[in-house]
Symmetry: C2
Subunit: 211 residues, 2 copies
């Protein structure tokens, strides 16, 4: 990745298991951009220190720090910033708005019901009281997957029949839906699309630690 | 508004009490763009009919229908589409990403904890079991308001010291936070910003039915 560095140095504050962080790692790899990777342990409050809150008032990873020290938060806003001018973001005005439509769908109708159950099941103790949230969250997760599957029934990718950051945003947690106890068997169009995304050039898997 | 129509006809599917729908009404008024307004009753399933699901698979308002029948969903994506090329969306790459950062913050960290409590309190029966969600939602709502207040402590607007769709997105539910039993007294920077937004040219209030 570093051999073909086309950008100046950015720092990605991240957590390896985070799908939101993975979105940025995947795009940076596909852009062949080097970056400095700083892992913060979200389980021990490393994103709530005064030093990190000075970078992101909302205390969350991923956060991207630019050359001049400016920090940008929210995974899908970071994707947009990095993809601007590349093949991963269409130029057409309507298509760009459709990319945003699917990214807002991801954050509002998908992430809380796919990523959060995965977090509860994978990162919290077996006796966590948050397990009581699972049935309702998973019901909404299945509703989000149904919307995606129906959209993909006649399409290869989410927008303009080309791979874009809308696909990256939705892929991040969908491809590990089984870790949230969400079975993808009933969603054949999603499964075919996941394979297309995983077949993209310079693809990297979620749990691969950056160099 | 219609006298200064600068755009072709669009149709806004909406619900008067919706802050997400209000975002679009406010921007269209400020752009002096005419539109056809179609109200759907979200309380009686009018957004879940086959006819409406054909426009938006996710079955939600606001949805914007363009001249050619293409439909765009997600309030903040619609704001982006309409604001492109206007004074309400900065041109600078970083500033545009910062607008998105605040819009994703709004949908992920603010709307479920400010808009949803307002919905439970204002639109559901007094004995709704969903009232049990209020304490946790309001705690997170106050966390979101604290982030906003701290950001605005040294600023007039959210991005680049100019009024943009980031302000519209966050204003929609913040200015009716009292309807969610969220008291804005502890947030003086938010209160000053709300007054600045309400003082913008061509401002329209939430509950004003479009012509």
């Amino acid at each position: 990745m570093r051999a073909e560095d086309r950008g100046t140095g950015v720092i990605l504050y991240d957590y390896l298991g985070s799908g939101n962080g993975y979105k940025i790692r995947l795009l940076l790899a596909q852009l062949a951009r080097s970056f400095r990777w700083v892992e913060l342990d979200i389980m021990t409050g490393q994103t709530r220190t005064p030093a990190f809150l000075a970078k992101n008032l909302n205390g969350r990873i991923p956060t991207l720090e630019l050359d001049d020290g400016t920090c940008l938060a929210e995974s899908d806003a970071i994707l947009w910033y990095l993809a601007e001018g590349s093949a991963f973001l269409p130029e057409n005005r309507l298509a760009r708005a459709q990319v945003l439509q699917w990214m807002f769908f991801e954050q509002y109708s998908h992430e809380p019901y796919v990523a959060t159950p995965r977090f509860i099941l994978r990162f919290l103790p077996n006796d966590s009281p948050r397990r009581s949230e699972l049935p309702e969250r998973l019901e909404r997760g299945r509703a989000a997957l149904s919307v995606m599957d129906e959209h993909l029934r006649t399409r290869q990718y989410f927008v303009e029949e080309r791979y874009s950051i809308a696909d990256i945003a939705l892929y991040a947690y969908t491809h590990v839906a089984d870790e949230a106890q969400l079975d993808l068997t009933p969603y054949p169009s999603i499964r075919a699309w996941l394979a297309r995304v995983a077949g993209q050039p310079r693809y990297v898997p979620l749990m691969r630690r950056p160099d």
